[in-house]
């Protein structure tokens, strides 16, 4: 398929995940803080800004310093959800997902396109500032449901062709990176969390609290959280799961299957191997933050390798023949 369209599908997948996961995290943080002492408030928002890589942008936009931020959680929410000038807000991510999907309409089933378009139109119809200040539950629920609808419809209506695979590939890598960041940013607090109050919030913010309880019952051990969110092979939110999902798609696109694996598949395979044969205790020994930060770098390198291998093809020779055009003879 056309490289440009493959790239747009890859990014449509990433933006959809970004919108859904941001909405989920803001939702959980917002509701958690209702029953928390105010001293925790600013720390929670700071961490979230870091997980979503939005801290710097927020400070520039809000124009304040750390002290000010403590009293402005509403601004943080607005920045993360509805601020148009923030390219990473939920609103902007949905808009970008739609732009990318629009350019590949011919490759998506029309129901997928309609689902993406619906989400975009819904957000633009609603009074976001009012909902965020008053009762944001329904807004977040709508975003999550719509994002899931898009993927559900895609799963049910699209053939497993390259278009589909690049959409999923973008999702998997975005999610792997996001979970790495989340655990890495919160790890220190998790260790210090003797009453085991933080862990449920963290797990809920990636929709995995119920899975954790089923797997580890009444455990209050941060190691178990680490095991589930990073190393579990069955939980769709874990880093390892997403790396394997990405590998499965990479194995079926481009020239895959015709000769040796391409550079991006090899790079992904190495990243995968760094986690696949470890257990949580070993990660603690190696330093959880170090391991996860290195993993984020590797995932970004995989993304770059994918760009080079599939999206940008430059001719091997020089463009030496251009301009060799005469105009004589016809006058």
């Amino acid at each position: 398929m056309l490289a440009r369209l493959a790239e747009n599908l890859f990014w449509a997948g990433r933006y959809l995940v970004r919108a859904e996961d941001s909405a989920r995290m803001v939702d959980v943080t917002w509701h958690m803080l209702l029953e928390s002492p105010s001293t925790e408030t600013s720390r929670a928002w700071e961490d979230l800004l870091e997980v979503l890589q939005q801290g710097e942008g927020f400070e520039q936009w809000a124009g304040g310093d750390d002290d000010l931020m403590a009293v402005r959680p509403d601004d943080v929410v607005r920045w993360l959800v509805s601020e148009r000038s923030n390219g990473g807000s939920v609103l902007a991510s949905v808009g970008m997902a739609r732009e990318n999907a629009r350019s590949v309409r011919e490759l998506l089933s029309s129901e997928v396109w309609e689902a993406v378009n619906d989400l975009h139109l819904t957000l633009h119809r609603r009074d976001l500032p009012h909902e965020l200040g008053d009762q944001p539950y329904d807004l977040f629920r709508t975003v999550k449901l719509h994002c899931q609808t898009v993927m559900g419809v895609a799963l049910e209506t699209m053939p497993r062709d390259e278009a589909f695979r690049f959409l999923l590939l973008g999702r998997a890598l975005e999610r792997a990176e996001m979970t790495c960041r989340l655990v890495s940013v919160r790890w220190e607090d998790l260790l210090a969390d003797r009453a085991f109050q933080l862990a449920p919030t963290l797990l809920r913010s990636v929709g995995s609290l119920e899975a954790f309880r089923k797997r580890h019952r009444a455990s209050a051990n941060p190691i178990d959280v680490l095991q589930l969110l990073v190393l579990d092979r069955d939980l769709p939110r874990s880093v390892l799961f997403q790396l394997e999902a990405a590998g499965a798609q990479l194995a079926r696109v481009g020239r895959a299957g015709r000769g040796p694996e391409g550079p991006s598949a090899r790079r992904l395979g190495r990243a995968h191997a760094a986690l696949r044969y470890r257990d949580a205790a070993e990660l603690v020994e190696l330093g959880v933050e170090d391991v996860l930060e290195r993993m984020q770098v590797e995932v970004r390198e995989v993304t770059e390798a994918i760009g080079e291998e599939f999206f940008t093809h430059a001719p091997t020779g020089a463009l030496h023949a251009v301009g060799a055009v005469g105009g004589e003879g016809a006058s």
Partner: protein, 495 residues
């Protein structure tokens, strides 16, 4: 409840025009008998209900075109009138032969001009200065050989019918004629909206257009491309007014729809950037104007084109359809010489006449035209789409004087034509049928030979009295039925 038998046609006024359905004595013309009979059983309410069904079909599929300079949501549907235009087998035979003859001569002319001996210029068939002064004469196309002389792989020849019912050529449209997607979509919509009326006729199908075009594109590929040359559709992108059609045609042919940035030229060979790497392209059905094709040769600021494309064409490594430089034969002054080209290259008499055209650099013709400006149509030679013209009888004194100044200042820049009293066709307006002016754009496809898609796009000026049928200016369309040879209504169950 069935209303009066003749309701739809009640008060229908043929006016002082050639009416496509009713002859001068009020009798229904042969091709329309079964249709009119069927319509006598249909109530206005019923037709309006069917119009709503039609609108639903078009909206759901997003069959729209983009209107430039319109602030409202820029996508509109191209309204299709529910009454089809019917062309009998005999009439079609004339049109088909006439279009093939004309396109053949024009292809010969373009080959002669750009890569031949220029016999038409040498023998004075077309004045040399006229050709070289045409805006769309492209010197960079000199010496480029085109397989089978197929400069115009697709031509959309606009025909109008005068007061005597004679089909005349108004324009040849040899660059990137659009509208064929509406021909196919109109047919699909008609078969859903009026299935029974359709079933009573033997209508020649149009859904083979994709195959017809792909076959021609493969035939014009460079010989080195082998058995199954790779063809692509090159579009300026989603913001172009005809993007829907570009995507539609790519889908019909099952080939890739690309933009300039998807292609790259290396060592005079064109490649497509795919997820598998660079893949060679042999034929490009391009819907981009000449001047945007290649920033190296034409406009350096064009981001739509492909640097080096013209050198690849010149090297014979890729074929462009349509070829570069066709616009010279679309020049409205050069148009006046097409009948002479037909005599020169084919040694035949033209089957389809031109509209009477006056050339304004000729002192005598110009004097006559300036005396009669308020009776004539004046057109700039290089425009298309119905823009920038003067329709004398409908113009204000100021407009007439404005054109008098322009023509005097730039006689080569304009031509004048007699007003064609375009034929009219009954068209649904609210509850009644009323006469509206129509034209016809058949599509001719040329590979090794030239074929014409049966029918074509009938455009209708929906505004009362208007002569302008262009979609950008309030025009609509009609499904166009070419009846099969025996032409008589088939008797089928339920018809």
């Amino acid at each position: 409840m069935v209303l009066g038998m003749t309701d739809l046609f009640e008060g229908y006024d043929r006016g002082d025009f050639f009416d496509e359905v009713f002859a001068g004595d009020g009798a229904v013309r042969p091709g329309y008998r079964a249709l009119v009979e069927r319509l006598r059983d249909v109530t206005p309410e019923d037709l309006q209900r069917r119009e709503r069904v039609r609108d639903g079909i078009f909206h759901a599929q997003g069959i729209t075109f983009t209107v430039y300079g319109d602030d409202e949501g820029t996508e509109r549907t191209f309204p299709m009138d529910l009454l089809p235009r019917v062309i009998t087998a005999d009439e079609w035979d004339v049109i088909e032969r006439g279009v093939v003859q004309r396109v053949t001569a024009l292809n010969r002319f373009l080959s002669d001009l750009y890569s031949g001996e220029q016999t038409a210029l040498r023998d004075g068939v077309v004045p040399r200065w006229l050709v070289t002064s045409a805006d769309d004469f492209v010197r960079q196309a000199a010496g480029i050989e085109v397989p089978h002389d197929a400069h115009c792989v697709v031509a959309g020849v606009d025909l109008v019918r005068d007061q005597q019912g004679t089909y005349r050529v108004l324009e040849d449209n040899l660059r990137s004629p659009s509208g064929v997607s509406y021909v196919l979509e109109n047919r699909l919509a008609m078969m859903r909206v009026l299935p029974k009326a359709f079933a009573r006729h033997r209508v020649r199908p149009v859904d083979g257009y994709g195959r017809m075009l792909l076959r021609a594109l493969r035939q014009v590929a460079p010989p080195a491309a082998g058995e199954t040359p790779r063809a692509v559709v090159l579009s300026p992108g989603a913001y172009n007014s005809a993007y829907f059609e570009h995507a539609f045609l790519a889908r019909q042919m099952g080939i890739e729809l690309v933009e300039g940035r998807d292609l790259v030229v290396d060592d005079q060979v064109v490649y497509l950037r795919s997820t598998r790497g660079l893949e060679r392209v042999d034929v490009i059905y391009r819907r981009i104007d000449d001047e945007f094709l290649d920033p190296v040769v034409f406009r350096p600021d064009s981001a739509l084109g492909v640097p080096g494309l013209v050198s690849a064409v010149r090297a014979g490594n890729v074929t462009l359809a349509n070829a570069i430089g066709n616009g010279v034969a679309d020049d409205k002054a050069v148009y006046a010489f097409v009948p002479a080209m037909i005599r020169h290259y084919l040694n035949e008499e033209p089957i389809l006449p031109n509209v009477e055209t006056y050339l304004l650099w000729d002192d005598e013709q110009r004097r006559m035209v300036l005396d009669r400006l308020d009776e004539l149509v004046v057109k700039p030679v290089a425009e298309s789409g119905g823009y920038g013209m003067l329709i004398g009888p409908a113009a204000s004194d100021e407009e007439v004087e404005e054109f008098r100044r322009r023509v005097t200042a730039d006689p080569r820049g304009y031509i004048a034509q007699e007003v064609v009293r375009l034929s009219r066709h009954p068209t649904l307006t609210g509850e009644r049928l009323a006469g509206r002016h129509v034209d016809l754009r058949p599509f001719a496809v040329t590979g090794e030979t030239t074929e014409v898609l049966p029918g074509g796009l009938t455009r209708v000026a929906l505004r009362e009295g208007s002569l302008v049928v262009n979609s950008s200016q309030g025009g609509g369309s009609k499904d166009t039925w070419v009846l099969d040879e025996d032409g008589v209504p088939a008797t089928r169950n339920g018809a």
